[in-house]
């Protein structure tokens, strides 16, 4: 049976290849625009039909690599149980690949050890494209295609020999959100801190008011702070640069020759970070704030911080614990924690970059983000069954279940809308282009250390007394240019090919 399938697959591949050759030789009319478009479409479908025959392989086991949280929280078991039940007639069984969630398909796949289906972040999955370790997905044929914004699909887009392929199916979006304590707002916030009267405190709507409020907290001298965040973290700090024209790589994050952390007016964004650091303590230089943010937001040392939405439960747990220690029952503490901890969109930035400016023109913060999704290993023996699994796991019901169990932000518009709250905000940000999705090329691995060093140095500068390194925008710009050069060196110096 296997041999029969192999023969069929090879025959269809040959047909696909031959048909591709025929078109290049001009056997089909391609002189007109319509002709060209038709050729491209035919080529695409021909190539993918060589991989996906459309007939499900029978009696096969597909190994699925999921992330640890999905396994630990029981979501993964639910999805494979439901899938196995739905495809029982074909004898297709999905099982846990039982591998490390960060395992490298490029290392294992060629030797037959990798999973058949992988759930990983876009930058991880797209590393596999160069060696063709994953199969392209017939995205347009999927039920979810129109429901997922193009920005999310773009994270999985690659162009090979002029043909566009989508290498994964977006499942959820990850980016920054602002966490703050509602009960730490000033009592008169509705009259004094809500200039536009929209019932949302100004300090969580724009960074200038956040700065002003942080200043007022610090000035009290009680050892408390307003907004706190570890500055070295590129994931959260780079958004301030992107908002003023910086980018990671040129040509929509595909050209590693063009590195743009210093592009546009990035130095203005870096200066915003410098101003913010001035109202924090030295903990913002290293990872101390990241480590202690849960407990310090809970005990009231910090008013607000910025992090990803998937850690909300950890903040809630810490805050509930504080309330319990104050004498509340577990249920009361939980309810109060949920009431007082607010997760919302990140504040808007002043166009001038001056956090002390009154009534500034505001621009959105373009935060760095990622899109996790499913991909299919090119080493699988059952691509059609794998595709069926991916389609099943990305349908509306499964994505909603994933959202309910794991608190993820769905990449599907219908699921994001139904989920509401953070999901809707983040989906909107993604759709509006306010989330800069992490580049999907291998060179992205080299951005972290140089950028992290710069942000750490910048934060440290806020506490230097006589020997400040970033006293002017020109000096900041020079620092950012050094970051670009370091990244360029890291990517290209040793490249022999």
């Amino acid at each position: 049976m296997k041999k029969l399938w192999c023969s069929l697959l090879i025959s269809s591949m040959c047909i696909g290849l031959l048909s591709g050759c025929g078109k290049e030789n001009g056997e089909t009319p391609s002189g007109t625009q319509e002709g060209k478009a038709e050729t491209e479409t035919t080529e695409k479908s021909a190539d993918l039909s060589a991989i996906y025959s459309g007939e499900l392989e029978k009696d096969v086991t597909i190994r699925v690599l999921e992330n640890d949280t999905a396994i630990a929280e029981g979501y993964f078991q639910e999805v494979i149980d439901a899938f196995n039940e739905a495809y029982a007639d074909y004898g297709i069984v999905a099982v846990d690949a039982n591998m490390d969630q960060y395992s490298n398909l490029a290392d294992d796949g060629p030797y037959g050890y990798g999973p058949d289906v992988l759930y990983q972040a876009n930058d991880v999955l797209m590393k596999y494209v160069e060696g063709k370790h994953i199969y392209p997905i017939p995205a347009q044929n999927l039920e979810s295609y129109d429901k997922i914004p193009q920005t999310a699909w773009d994270a999985y887009k690659t162009v090979i020999d002029g043909v566009t392929y989508y290498m994964g199916v977006p499942v959820n979006v990850q980016s920054s959100m602002l966490y703050y304590r509602k009960d730490m707002l000033p009592e008169n916030w509705e009259t004094e801190w809500d200039k536009n009267g929209n019932k949302i405190p100004d300090m969580v709507e724009n960074w200038n008011d956040m700065y002003r409020y942080s200043q007022s907290i610090v000035d009290k001298g009680e050892g408390k702070f307003g907004y706190m965040r570890s500055m070295y973290d590129v994931y959260f700090s780079s958004g301030f640069l992107f908002s003023y024209g910086a980018y990671v790589f040129g040509d929509q994050n595909t050209n590693a020759e063009d590195i743009g952390f210093s592009a546009g007016n990035a130095e203005i964004g870096a200066n915003v970070l410098l101003q913010q650091a001035g109202l924090m303590n030295e903990d913002c230089i290293d990872d101390s704030v990241t480590v202690s943010a849960y407990s310090k937001l809970a005990d009231g040392t910090y008013f607000a911080t910025m992090t990803t939405p998937d850690v909300k439960s950890l903040f809630l747990k810490e805050l509930a614990m504080v309330y319990e220690n104050e004498g509340m029952s577990a249920d009361e503490a939980k309810a109060k924690a949920e009431e007082n901890l607010v997760v919302t969109d990140v504040p808007r930035l002043p166009a001038s970059g001056d956090l002390t400016e009154e009534n500034p023109e505001l621009i959105p913060l373009k935060a760095m983000g990622g899109v996790n999704g499913y991909a299919i290993s090119a080493y699988t023996k059952a691509p059609n069954a794998c595709l069926a699994f991916v389609e099943f796991a990305t349908n509306y019901d499964m994505i909603m279940k994933r959202h309910e169990t794991l608190g993820i932000v769905p990449a599907r518009s219908d699921a994001a809308e139904a989920a509401g709250g953070i999901s809707e905000i983040m989906y909107h940000n993604l759709d509006e282009g306010n989330i800069v999705v992490m580049p999907s090329i291998r060179a992205v691995e080299q951005i972290w250390t140089p950028a992290q060093t710069f942000f750490q140095d910048l934060a440290k500068d806020a506490f230097r007394t006589s020997d400040k390194k970033y006293g002017s925008l020109e000096q900041i710009k020079a620092g950012l240019e050094a970051v670009d050069k370091q990244i360029y060196d890291a990517v290209h110096t040793l490249a022999t090919n």
Binding site: I10, M13, Y135, E282, V291, E445, L494, N497
Partner: protein, 437 residues
Amino acid sequence: MKDGVKKNTSEKWGKNVKLSMCLMGLGQFFYGQIGRGLCYLAILLLAVVYFVYRGFSDLIGLFTLGTKEADTWLGLEGDNSVVMLLMGILSVIALLFFVFCYLSNIKDAYETQKLCERGGHPAKFKEDLKQFLDKKFYKTVLFLPIVGVCVFNILPIIFMILIAFTNYGGNIVPPKLVDWVGIDNFVQIATLSQFAPTFGRILIWNLIWAAVSTAVNYFAGLGLALLLNKECVKGKAFWRAFPMLAYAVPGFITLLGFKFMFSYGGPINQIITDMGYRAVGFLDIDAKWIARGIGFAVNAWISVPSIMLLATGILSNRDASQMESAKIDGANAFQQFRHITLPFVLFSTTPVLISQFIGNFNNFGIFFFLRGGLYIDGYFLASDTDLLINWLYNLSISNNYYNVGATISLVIFMITSFISLLIYTRSSSYREEDTFR
């Protein structure tokens, strides 16, 4: 003259020896050594089968490293250069093994010939087998370890060395085909203008680090052992347990613990700020020598217990009467240590000292965990606490440039082996080896 040589050779190599040259084991057959002959013949057959079925193609693959690139999307199976390199090395080892067996087969036939000329009789198979449990027992017991060393030790080392002469890495990883590039990688490293200043700086710091941390660990361990060896110390086992606790905790956990302790939000800065002072950036971007100092201390915390244990064992063999005589002769404690204890311990521990030096020279973990993720001005993709091994990691592994990694590893190997040999050949352990025999 030529005829003379020919005559001698002709006399030297009898008919059976020549038969063994033509066909492995044939000479042995003619000597009536059927079992031995069959063994040699079996080796020949195995070699032929292996080389016909894959050895020969593996050998060719070692030179080509593949000619057909795989394309998973088109279902085209191609060559895996890395596997071909590995199998090629194996085929060379197999070829060398076969040549060794072939020569041993000739040597064996020749020795049997000489034995017969002396009036002896060729050994029977049973006698051969008995020999492997008696006189040649060392061969029996060493056979498997030698195979193990070849497969698990020599093969990876040769593999790593050969990688330095390929373009394996970056974008050239299977299924793409890897190629031989000669000494291009060495030339590239030697000619990169950015490399030289950073290499010099890091090498100097690396040598200081290796020498100082080895000395600190060694003398602290020895000092602790001497202290806990003193008769006046009560509850020695109890006190010895404390350093052992530090030794028992996995190194990277200890390092992460220390990183937290010295961080801005850690307990040490907490105490400092509670006392009214400003927090100190022990490991931050400006903390060059403070961070280096912390590295020495943390490394000592991890390494001193093992030296202490070693020294405790060696000190138990110390000649007490020698110490007693020195005391009677008026030597003070330092003089006793300087002239008796230290030479005695040094003699036994020089190889350990060298291994400690090499270990510290290549100590990847200390600064990777304590102060990783920094590139400092004036250094090319490195920080001022990075050792060569950390720099190697930044340059190659995190970039997947395995070829460059292998090249720099070879350079590091040359440096460390030169220093090790220099120290060892000048040490009393080497020069006075016979003294204690």
